[in-house]
Amino acid sequence: MSQDGYPDDLLYHPEHDWARIDAEGSDPARPEATLGITWYAQDALGEVVFFEAPAVGTLLVQDAPYAEVESVKAVSDVVAPLSGEIVAVNETLADSPQLINEDPYGDGWMVRIALSDPSERDALMDAEAYFATLGG
């Protein structure tokens, strides 16, 4: 696996989750972020067969699980890289959970949140630091 699997415009959580904080399109006082799981996470899990997003309005707490993603064999927690309130969920994953494997940073996004504490981003890693945690 090369570092190309970890885009530079994302922030990474050690539990193999990513966040894309939007520069525009949202209230600057309350920025939004899109969340998902990393290439490493989906590869370790294998073919994803089930993902049920929490409801819009659910509050996420940094470092706490907010959803589960399931392969044929296993269930894995999805951990919130940042705290906030869900403003949108990826409805297509209910019928097409394999998008999490096929396009983990694009069509496989999971939820969008309005951040409750944007400074939490300081606890996250950039792509280089995250990639280093994977041991190459």
Partner: protein, 355 residues
């Protein structure tokens, strides 16, 4: 992975094929290659090959071999002709299940029993503890056999093409030469499909594996083996069978012949007469969600195996429920990590050819 894990004769083939290897009962085994759904579908529609060399073998031979096996195994082995095979259980005195096993009658006084990898050592001790005064020899043959399962609608045709003689029919076994190597060919399997299981010298396994792949068999891992057996409602020891529950509860009364006097037969007879308090049922989730082993069922019972069925596209599984909840069509509520998932008791098997 620690180097103490055992590897099969096909380990290098699995690595070369890009398998994801996991620890399983002390062995380093391929859990999947390309992907569990693709492997599952290959077995349902064409042909797949599994390396199940981690399974153990015990040979029982001698003038009183049958007496020992009748004492140990729940089924009636006296009914098995030379070349035949039979499924049965190993039970404790209280009826708790120690293992489920296939026994092949190789010769009149020579039998081969295939054990589950995790139970092999314990089974062997159980065998030896019951020899007593019997004129019988018990041999651990785990190092002498590799085991391949070739399964799927095209499995028999594919194996037949490299066999020196017609393959034995279902539930029988025969010695054949494949690619010049002598092996035991068994008309058995664990997928709900046609196929054979091959017991052969480990040194002969790589060439056979390569030829089966060359002829179109898809390498399939333990993950697909599990989804296939679960759709077919075959029990998995450690999930659906354990020493905590007996054969009748598990729906395996058909392979218990109490009149043979096997260890545990009195307990089995009593439960059969009184009716079991719990029964193992097949279920399907009604709606989204996948139940997993250990999920409790509202009103009593628990899931012992659960997965997404690749053939049916829904969550399915096996569960012990109070007998009054066992009839087909009964609605269940399964507590899947705090979420209530409705489910329905289904007929076994969950998947039937052509459904």
């Amino acid at each position: 992975m620690p180097t103490t894990l055992r590897r099969t004769a096909l380990y290098d083939r699995h690595v070369a094929a890009g398998a994801k290897l996991v620890e399983f009962a002390g062995w380093e085994m391929p859990v999947q290659y390309e992907g569990v759904r693709q492997e599952h579908t290959a077995v349902r529609t064409d042909v797949g090959v599994f390396d199940v060399s981690h399974m153990g073998e015990i040979e029982t031979s001698g003038p009183q071999a049958l007496e020992l096996l009748q004492r140990l195994i729940s089924n009636d082995l006296a009914r098995v002709p030379v070349g035949g095979a039979q499924y049965g259980l190993l039970c404790r005195e209280d009826g708790g299940v120690l293992d489920d096993l296939f026994t092949y009658r190789l010769e009149a006084e020579r039998w081969l029993t295939v054990t589950n990898a995790a139970n092999h050592e314990q089974d062997l001790q159980w065998w030896r503890a019951h020899v007593g005064e019997l004129d019988v020899q018990v041999d651990d043959r785990i190092d002498d056999y590799a085991m391949l399962a070739v399964q799927g609608p095209r499995a028999r045709e594919l194996v037949q093409a490299i066999s020196d003689a017609p393959l034995p029919p279902r539930m029988t076994a025969a010695t054949r030469r494949l690619l010049g190597a002598q092996m035991l060919v068994c008309g058995t399997g664990y997928t709900g499909e046609e196929g054979v299981e091959l017991l052969l010298a480990p040194a002969d396994a790589p060439a056979l594996w390569d030829e089966l792949i060359r002829r179109g068999a898809v390498p399939a891992g333990l993950a697909a083996r599990d989804t296939l057996r679960l759709e077919a409602c075959y029990h998995l020891y450690g999930n659906d069978l354990s020493s905590e529950r007996g054969p009748i509860e598990a729906g395996l009364g058909w392979c218990c012949v109490e009149d043979t006097g096997f260890v545990g037969s009195d307990a089995v007879r009593a439960v059969r007469a009184a009716g079991p308090r719990e029964r193992l049922v097949a279920f399907a989730i009604d709606g989204p969600g996948i139940a997993r082993q250990g999920n409790p069922i509202v009103g009593g019972g628990e899931v012992t195996s659960g997965t997404l069925s690749p053939s049916l596209g829904i969550g399915v599984g096996l569960a012990y429920v109070p007998s009054e909840h066992a009839p087909v069509g009964t609605r269940l509520q399964i507590d899947v990590r705090g979420k209530m998932r409705p489910a329905v008791v289904r007929e076994k098997p969950l998947y039937r050819k052509g459904s």
